[in-house]
């Protein structure tokens, strides 16, 4: 089974990628484009729909990443879903080429309400409900019931980050844990592992005066300006900060061939040029 190669644009837009001169190479080198804000609702916008349609027309597949959602984000995502459905209705977007990755159960509920014709995946902020990958070098499926629960939602694909090493897995012991390893697939993001995320963005959110209650998380999209490297005096690695998420960089390739990835149920690799 060949491994599909994807690219996660992150803070980059297609226009930005084109301006940087990287668009043609990306179109040649990657079968699927991961667009949309994975970790922050403030970046949700209708321009994502036009990007998805443009990429699909050029024969690329698309996965729309969606973040944790407050009520505001839910409204924004509802508009995005509405616009995508319009494009499908007008024949301008092939639903078979688009997937949606959710990181909030509210997004699952919204997709159900809207009867989205797109495949849903569980993102890097939801996969903990099925996998324990907090150990140094192992990924464990909790139990068959956890997979069954997501299957009931139409979700069979889970997105995880590289751990920088070849992990040990319990997939071959599925019978003991009550699952069949053929029942799920893993998309592996590299080279950045998202260590933690917050809603109250350390880069963009202003402090709330002590006498006031913040209405929400407002910013000027400072995350788009730059990512930062943080030299934490207590650890050897550099922490990387992009907006509300802290990452570690694991550039090491831990597999020798695609067969190694198949043993880990990984049939998609997604490269992020930036954290």
């Amino acid at each position: 089974m060949p491994v599909e190669k994807g690219i996660r644009l992150g803070a980059l837009t297609l226009a930005g990628l084109k301006k940087s001169g990287g668009l043609e190479a990306a179109l040649k080198g990657f079968e699927r484009f991961y667009i949309g804000p994975e970790f922050c609702e403030n970046l949700l916008g209708l321009s994502l729909c036009a990007e998805a349609a443009w990429l699909l027309k050029r024969g690329r597949k698309v996965c729309l990443l969606t973040p944790l959602l407050s009520e505001k984000g839910l409204g924004l995502l509802d508009s995005v879903f509405g616009k995508l459905l319009q494009l499908v209705g007008r024949g301008e977007l092939d639903p078979a080429g688009l997937e949606v990755t959710v990181n909030d159960f509210g997004a699952v509920e919204l997709a159900r309400k809207r009867r989205l014709p797109f495949t849903l995946n569980a993102g890097r902020l939801l996969h903990d409900n099925v996998f324990d990958d907090t150990g140094k070098d192992d990924i464990t499926v909790h139990n068959g019931l956890a997979l069954d629960f997501f299957r009931g939602l139409g979700i069979r694909r889970f997105e995880l980050s590289t751990l920088g090493v070849r992990p040990s897995v319990n997939f071959a012991r599925g019978a003991v844990f009550g699952f069949d390893r053929r029942s799920f697939r893993i998309t592996l993001h590299y080279p950045y592992l998202n260590l933690t995320s917050t809603r109250t963005c350390p880069v963009g959110m202003r402090d709330t005066p002590p006498m006031e209650a913040a209405r929400g998380v407002d910013c000027a999209r400072e995350c788009l300006v730059s990512s930062f490297e943080l030299a934490h005096p207590s650890i050897r690695e550099k922490l990387l900060v992009r907006g509300n998420t802290v990452y570690l960089d694991f550039p090491q390739k831990f597999y020798a061939s695609e067969k190694d990835l198949a043993r880990l149920n990984v049939d998609r690799l997604v490269y992020s040029p930036f954290p």
Binding site: A146, T196, A213, E237
Partner: protein
């Protein structure tokens, strides 16, 4: 509003009730729970009896998001939970939907209720609707949610008879998404020295030279960089990340009808637990008194002014 207090020792129950706790919750090592501070499993049955003798309800947190379990281990956990239900446990706090599913619908526990942990954070009303289908009787709201953002969730819960609970803003305030944070254990990074309070969130060093530019994506906004670097350094060292929960936010939740206020640092020493619950009680009494005596806006102002003078209580 009622106070829900954690405990991890049988001997804490009476003093905590005396300090103002209205309900209790705990965790045991044999069942998956978030964070540390466990009651010995053998003390659970006596704890249920003692809590009920004090006229209080008691809940058990089984709220770790990660619970890898073989079929045998899962059957044992289910048996243990059903046994505790028969003993009179009033509620179980879950976060993983697969565990919620194990005790929902036709498999519903005959006695105990289900609470949704903040470790499975609900930030919007559709997420609340999603989890309401498990039959949860209470949503424990994450502290990274403002009262303004919570309005539709609270309205949904009110309409469905689902209780809501918040954390005390002074004794619990992690800026990161609970249950999804990997800053606390050196699994994916290598320690050079001990880290402050077991987490990378704060750097035990003065600001300056810690943060540098990695990728400049928008050159047109490069002039913002010095300000952003300064902000990041302050927030990762002494300042901490911005927070949505403060005295004003608490008052707004209080007057929105949230019925439960949680203190949940199970690993605190017994004496500290009692002092903190007494602080919660003082704060609630103040909010209730001001709300009874003054129009809402004035009560809020007076409450925030009073709490802004709170000096940390010596904790």
């Amino acid at each position: 509003m009622k106070i829900v207090s954690c405990f991890s020792d049988l001997k804490e129950l009476e003093p905590l009730a005396g300090a103002g706790a209205d309900e209790f919750y705990t965790a045991i090592a044999a069942l998956p729970a978030f964070s540390v501070g466990f009651l010995p499993g053998r003390d659970l049955a006596p704890a249920i009896k003692t809590a009920h003798a004090l006229g209080k309800k008691i809940a058990l947190a089984v709220n770790a998001i990660h619970f890898p379990a073989t079929l045998k281990q899962l059957a044992a956990a289910e048996k243990r939970i059903r046994g505790l239900d028969r003993l009179g446990m009033d509620a179980f706090i879950f976060s993983n939907p697969y565990l919620l599913g194990l005790f929902s619908g036709r498999r519903k526990l005959p006695g105990a209720k289900l609470h949704l942990s903040s470790v499975q954070p609900v930030f919007n009303s559709l997420s609340a609707a999603f989890f309401s289908r498990f039959g949860v009787s209470r949503l424990i709201l994450p502290n990274q949610l403002s009262p303004y953002e919570a309005r539709k969730i609270l309205a949904f819960c009110r309409a469905r008879g689902i209780e809501t609970e918040i954390f005390d803003y002074r004794f619990f305030g992690c800026a990161y998404i609970n249950g999804r944070c990997q800053l606390h254990r050196p699994d994916h990074y290598t320690l050079k020295s001990a880290i402050l309070e077991g987490s990378l969130c704060r750097i035990n060093a003065p600001a300056g030279g810690l943060v540098k530019l990695r990728t400049l994506d928008l050159p047109a906004r490069a002039r913002e960089l010095p300000r952003l670097v300064k902000r990041l350094e302050a927030r990762f060292t002494c300042g901490g990340s911005p927070r949505l929960s403060n005295a004003a936010a608490f008052f707004d939740f209080f007057s929105s009808g949230v019925r439960y206020l949680k203190y949940g640092t199970r690993h605190d020493p017994s004496g500290v637990k009692v002092k903190k619950v007494a602080e919660l009680r003082r704060m609630l009494d103040l909010a209730e008194k001001l709300s009874a005596e003054l129009p809402r806006a004035e009560a809020r102002r007076a409450f925030v002014a009073e709490l802004s003078g709170w000096n940390g209580g010596g904790f």
